[in-house]
């Protein structure tokens, strides 16, 4: 977790809703994701990265997971914990993140 990762905070602060403007956390629960989805480069894992991926792609994946599509393992169970607006906010936040070097 190095500096690059936090640039998105700024973008979120400027473009996000008032609720997130003061929050360096990103929207609801975004920080928990990096337990599995690597933010540092060079981590050898089959679990995909999220930083910098198009927001529409992340949001579509989350909604599919909620419906049990895309044959998820654990993401089907996790995605159900998020509302529609929360998914959009999460997706926008990750899209704005850059990988740590």
């Amino acid at each position: 977790m190095r500096r690059g990762r936090w640039i998105g905070l700024l973008l979120m602060g400027l473009s996000g809703g008032a609720a997130h403007a003061a929050s360096p956390d990103g929207p609801f629960g975004a920080m928990s994701c990096s337990g599995c989805h690597a933010t540092a480069r060079g981590v050898d894992t089959a679990i995909p990265r999220l930083n910098g991926r198009p927001a529409a792609e992340i949001a579509a994946a989350m909604r599919d997971f909620q419906k049990g599509e895309r044959a998820p393992t654990v993401m089907g169970r996790i995605a159900k914990g998020y509302t529609d607006p929360e998914i959009d906010a999460l997706a926008a936040w990750f899209a704005a993140q850059r990988d740590a070097p």
Partner: protein
């Protein structure tokens, strides 16, 4: 980042952008919770003075240490230094904290560290008065291996030295304890070792409970993979161990004495003892906290995260400790800037291996509800019972990826 921090600061609270240190945070314990919190604080607010107190120069991770016992991994793959924490700009003191005196942490060297906010992340200690006969000396003969390191190596050596045909006896404690699925993953991987290396041996798990995490998934796998080798004795069948005797290697229940060739006693636990010294542990031995900021309910300028804290529905896991640490860092930055912390969402996923290519998971999503972290209804749960082997193999693969990812984030 300079720009980013200044901008976030400007949006949030102008004070943060000022040139001098914006506060002193001291963190006790450099494990999954403490090291993550230290690194996250420096990433969020480089001007914070962050100190980490940790006596051990090498941290040995518990997750995947059961695979070391199963002969599938070496202990060196579990070990991490604090170098990445120091590189992040954190001052590391290789000492043990022994007390908290007002706004000062006192170390065993006599040194004192002043703080504006203190984070206690000491993990667990064994409750040495919780099981008659189980002392620190007894643990050298009947290892707990519930703090990874020398204990893990000792138990593995005992398993390797045991004759084929020996009886391995394990005991699991009542709730709450570190890593609810941990004893059941361990019994699985020891069974795997015996099945492949010492097939005439037997394994008994004496349990102080009648139910446990991922129970159906574990029991289905045991029936399939380890029939006749592994026996689980629940509380209602006399499984609760009431005393142990290292001299004759026995574990006693109210009904029987079990003599072991190798004994693994997973004893009752409590928060690391600095929690009690600091006045943040309650009579249960664990630390009650607010669910938004993880501030102690007993001393609000002290945050408690990880295994030591009472986190409602969240289990005591490395995944949880890491997630709580990031939320705690955000809350501390907010508090120091005079803002209220935002309500968090947290995730936990516990991976367990029952065999090398056979992984199972339990997941949860949590939010503060009525003063506790509670499950978000409809989310979370365990792997499907009827999944094909390909699914189990994929979860085993993801488990390894998870370990590499979380240790990279925690230790740098």
């Amino acid at each position: 980042m300079q720009v980013g921090a200044a901008m976030v600061g400007a949006l949030a609270a102008p004070r943060i952008a000022s040139a001098q240190a914006v506060g002193r945070v001291v963190i006790v314990g450099g494990g999954f919770a403490g090291a993550t919190c230290a690194r996250t604080l420096k990433a969020l607010e480089p001007k914070l003075a962050v100190s980490l107190i940790e006596p051990d120069p090498v941290f040995t991770a518990c997750p995947f240490s059961n695979a070391v016992l199963g002969g599938l991994r070496e202990i060196a793959q579990q070990q991490f230094t604090q170098d990445g924490v120091e590189r992040a700009g954190v001052t590391v003191a290789r000492r043990r904290a022994v007390g908290v005196d007002g706004k000062t942490v006192v170390l065993d060297s006599g040194a004192r560290f002043q703080f504006d906010r203190l984070v206690l992340a000491p993990g667990i200690d064994i409750n040495w008065s919780g099981l008659p006969g189980y002392t620190e000396a007894a643990a050298e003969k009947m290892p707990h291996a519930w703090k990874a390191g020398g204990q893990t190596v000792l138990l593995r050596r005992q398993l390797e030295a045991m004759d084929d045909g020996g009886l391995v006896v394990m005991s699991a404690p009542a709730n709450p304890f570190r890593c609810p699925p941990g004893p059941y993953e361990r019994v699985s991987l020891i069974a795997h070792y015996l099945k492949t290396k010492k097939p005439k041996s037997k394994l008994v798990l004496l349990d102080a409970k009648d139910a446990f995490s991922k129970q159906r998934l574990f029991q289905d796998a045991w029936a399939k993979l380890y029939p006749g080798l592994l026996e689980w004795v629940p509380l209602s069948k006399g499984g609760k161990v009431v005393s142990v005797d290292p001299a004759d290697m026995t574990l006693a229940t109210d009904f029987a004495k079990h003599k072991a060739a190798v004994a693994n006693v997973i004893p009752p636990q409590r928060a690391g003892r600095i929690a009690e010294a600091a006045g943040v542990a309650d009579r249960s031995g664990w630390c009650p906290v607010e669910p938004v900021s993880f501030e102690s309910r007993l001393r609000p300028d002290i945050h408690v995260i990880g295994d030591a804290a009472i986190m409602g529905a969240m289990p005591k896991s490395a995944f949880s400790a890491n997630a709580q640490a990031k939320v705690c860092a955000v809350a501390i930055v907010a508090r120091l800037a005079g803002r209220e912390p935002v309500e968090p969402r947290l995730i936990n996923t516990c991976y367990s291996l029952v065999a090398p290519d056979y992984g199972i998971t339990i997941a949860g999503v949590y939010k503060p509800t009525n003063g506790q972290l509670a499950d978000i209804p409809g989310a979370g749960g365990v792997s499907p019972l009827d999944a094909p082997q390909e699914f189990r193999a994929r979860e085993a693969l993801y488990a390894e990826g998870w370990f590499r990812t979380i240790t990279a984030e925690t230790f740098g």
